[in-house]
Symmetry: C2
Subunit: 444 residues, 2 copies
């Protein structure tokens, strides 16, 4: 559906036609549509949407759009939207909005929901509690399949997913789980206790959201129960939220690995100043660190005064070292992030990197040696550069492997030990090695 | 459960105790357990597992383990396992195994399944068809809710998910979709046609798997129907497979962005030679490209013979340029990957990067100028380095923004235009700018 078509239907007040057309659009596609309309049309169109679709569309909106819309809606309309949202989305909304909007939201929320919201807001950022929702299907052990189905029919419409149902005792302690498939294919008179699985994977409310998301990847689940310290079920996390966490954490890793502070907003939504701020800290640190490399070079002024060609190979040696280090650190950082590599694998990984670096170093040295012989016909230079390359590759691959593991050991995020930092460190060592080898072999 | 406990129970032939204990373990946790046992115990333990758990555990195994196990199982046992697997897992298995194992597999598969397998094997790698499964719930428009529930009970046990049910006409053309929640909360006598939604998001069998996975992220789905060119439903993709695709594509992006050929196997499973091979091509290309930078430096021999200190700043200028370029290219590459940035945004992004680079460049120039004044008390040098930094930052951020977009325009993967390549290119330009500015201002 195009902007012009919508505007035309709105102008002609053909609301019923518009309503029918909107029904054919997926809720996730409504916000991009609204973004093209003027303010007045947005509210009009939003009012036309069926309740459920309006709620869904709202949950897909960017924060700034939600804010504008809330300010234009009446209290009754806002209440209608909030009723359609799941608790986790309501809490996200409150966390994103400025305080005047939050006031307006809390005013229309009923007392019971306000209590739940307050509880959810207590959980630390990035914890399982902060991304869970409180709408799930709870069953009792003693129920028959028929009673369970009735319970699902009664509360299913308000539950985020009915795929997994959780069996609780009277103190709401999680006893087991049963999925809707098993309920449906079982006989009406069978007892839930006999059908449920007691081997339930659950997480504590304070568990880190990234670890939670990894469980979804590992166990192929649709939903994960969240329990408190007394094993009482307090919420569930659904797979769509887990995917969002995985995507956010990936974006964060990419940013950290390129020496930037992680940023929650999108590229274009972030202001120029914020962008500059996110990038400048690491740039300054790295720039000042590279003064060390400069200092080393100053010490060898005599060497390159005698053989000026030595300077011409600095970029190649630094570049190759940086690239080798970044290859290794990327593989190790990713391996640590996906739990494929653990701290105890340190020596196994180092040994692997060492063997790889010998092969790579020798091949690079030979290719470069041939180039130098063709271009300058200088065997001594070819040997100096060749040995430097082998040493630099070995050293940079070792650093690329060691530093992320070291960060992990210190409980820091290994992603900070990525290309930029590794490159700067490798520069220092490679230049030192280079001039040492050059002065030794060339007797300068 | 520990290795020793299992070995002991196996030795004492306490198979029933072991069976009960194994039931408490999630199927995804069985393969790591098996890995610690000797070959004989693996087969024994696997035979003890209940059919369903054995099938699930099998689907979580690494290829080499599946291969060993298949060779040790009887035909009847293998058939039992294959019956428990969903079609997509069977096809994955066949694609992973060497030809003698594939022969053994196909021998025990019945003719009907063999036909489906052959069809699924035809789909190109990385297409929707290659990751879909053929077990889903199909309903007819004319069915009542009661009939639909009966159909779900009849075929649900063999279906990978019963959450979404698909409504087909007699030619198996996809007409609509209804989820189990709606079926359960509707009255028995209601007709599916009136309840189903006709606004179904589906993909073609040839759609790229990465685009498919992104749809899951965008629309928060549990399953996605896959149709052929005549809109006939041929399979579904479930959210767990979408998560795997997202994770694999992320790993691939990380590898490409660190100048490595993507690798499907894990870090430790990949041989040293394969690792070296994956890394060496780009290293050679980049190493030889950096000879250009070296060549430029050679042209300015007189300049640094006159002012040797100029050489000492080469690492800082190259490093800062590389880091700035890698920041911008990472943001643009990620933005393009998540569809947040599109080709039409080129000038918008360039303008943003330009403003960021001015702020960043000026700050870096000032900080560095202060350092130079303190360390060398040389205003001319501070100005040369300051101007070079501003120009380098602007240039590298522009390149970091332009090149990934250019790759996208040429339908290449923007991830190849990442840190290593950008750094090498930035080196060339920044050295050129540096010596131009230096010779002009210092009159050398």
């Amino acid at each position: 559906m195009e902007k012009d078509e919508i505007t035309k239907l709105l102008e002609e007040k053909k609301y019923n036609v518009l309503k029918e057309k909107l029904k054919e659009i997926n809720s996730a596609d409504i916000p991009p549509l609204l973004e093209e309309l003027d303010k007045e049309s947005v509210v009009k169109l939003f009012r036309i949407l069926p309740k459920e679709q309006a709620g869904e569309a709202f949950s897909y909106m960017e924060p700034y759009m939600k804010e504008k819309l809330i300010q234009d809606l009446t209290d009754a309309e806002l209440k209608g939207i909030l009723n359609e949202l799941f608790m986790d989305d309501t809490v996200d909304l409150i966390e994103e909005m400025p305080s005047n909007v939050v006031k307006k939201i809390l005013k229309v929320v009923n007392a019971k929901d306000r209590k739940i919201i307050n509880e959810l807001l207590q959980y630390p950022e990035d914890s399982a509690g902060s991304i869970m929702t409180t709408e799930f299907i709870d069953l009792k052990e003693t129920m028959t399949v028929e009673q369970a189905l009735q319970r699902i029919r009664d509360i299913g419409i308000d539950s985020e997913t009915i795929y997994n149902c959780y069996v609780l005792n009277r103190n709401r302690v999680l006893l087991g789980m049963i999925n809707i498939k098993e309920i449906l294919i079982s006989k009406k008179e069978q007892i839930i206790k006999e059908l449920m699985t007691t081997n339930v994977i659950s997480v504590n409310t304070l568990e880190d959201q990234e670890d939670v998301a990894k469980l979804f990847d590992k166990y192929d689940m649709y939903a994960l129960p969240v329990v408190d310290t007394e094993n009482r079920l307090v919420g569930i996390i659904t797979v769509d939220d887990a995917i969002n966490v995985l995507q956010d954490e990936t974006a964060e890793d990419f940013e950290k690995m390129a020496a930037m502070s992680p940023n929650e907003k999108g590229y274009f939504e972030t202001s120029v100043f914020k962008h500059a701020k996110n990038r400048i800290v690491w740039l300054l640190v790295l720039m000042l660190s590279s003064a060390i490399t400069g200092g080393i070079i100053t010490n060898y002024e005599e060497a390159f005064a005698a053989v000026p060609l030595l300077v011409a190979f600095i970029p190649m040696i630094m570049g190759t070292g940086g690239n080798c280090g970044s290859q290794s650190s990327t593989l190790i950082i990713r391996g640590l992030a996906t739990d494929e590599i653990e701290l105890k694998d340190l020596f196994k990984a180092l040994w692997k990197e060492f063997r790889v670096s010998i092969i790579v170093g020798v091949v690079l040295a030979i290719v470069n040696g041939i180039r130098i012989m063709i271009q300058y016909n200088d065997l001594q230079l070819a040997i100096v550069i060749g040995l430097t390359l082998i040493a630099t590759v070995a050293l940079s691959k070792a650093l690329g492997c060691l530093l992320p593991m070291f960060a992990k050991k210190l409980k820091l995020d290994p992603a900070i030990m990525a290309t930029p930092l590794i490159t700067t460190l490798v520069d220092i060592f490679s230049i030192l090695v280079y001039f040492q080898i050059a002065t030794a072999i060339m007797h300068i």
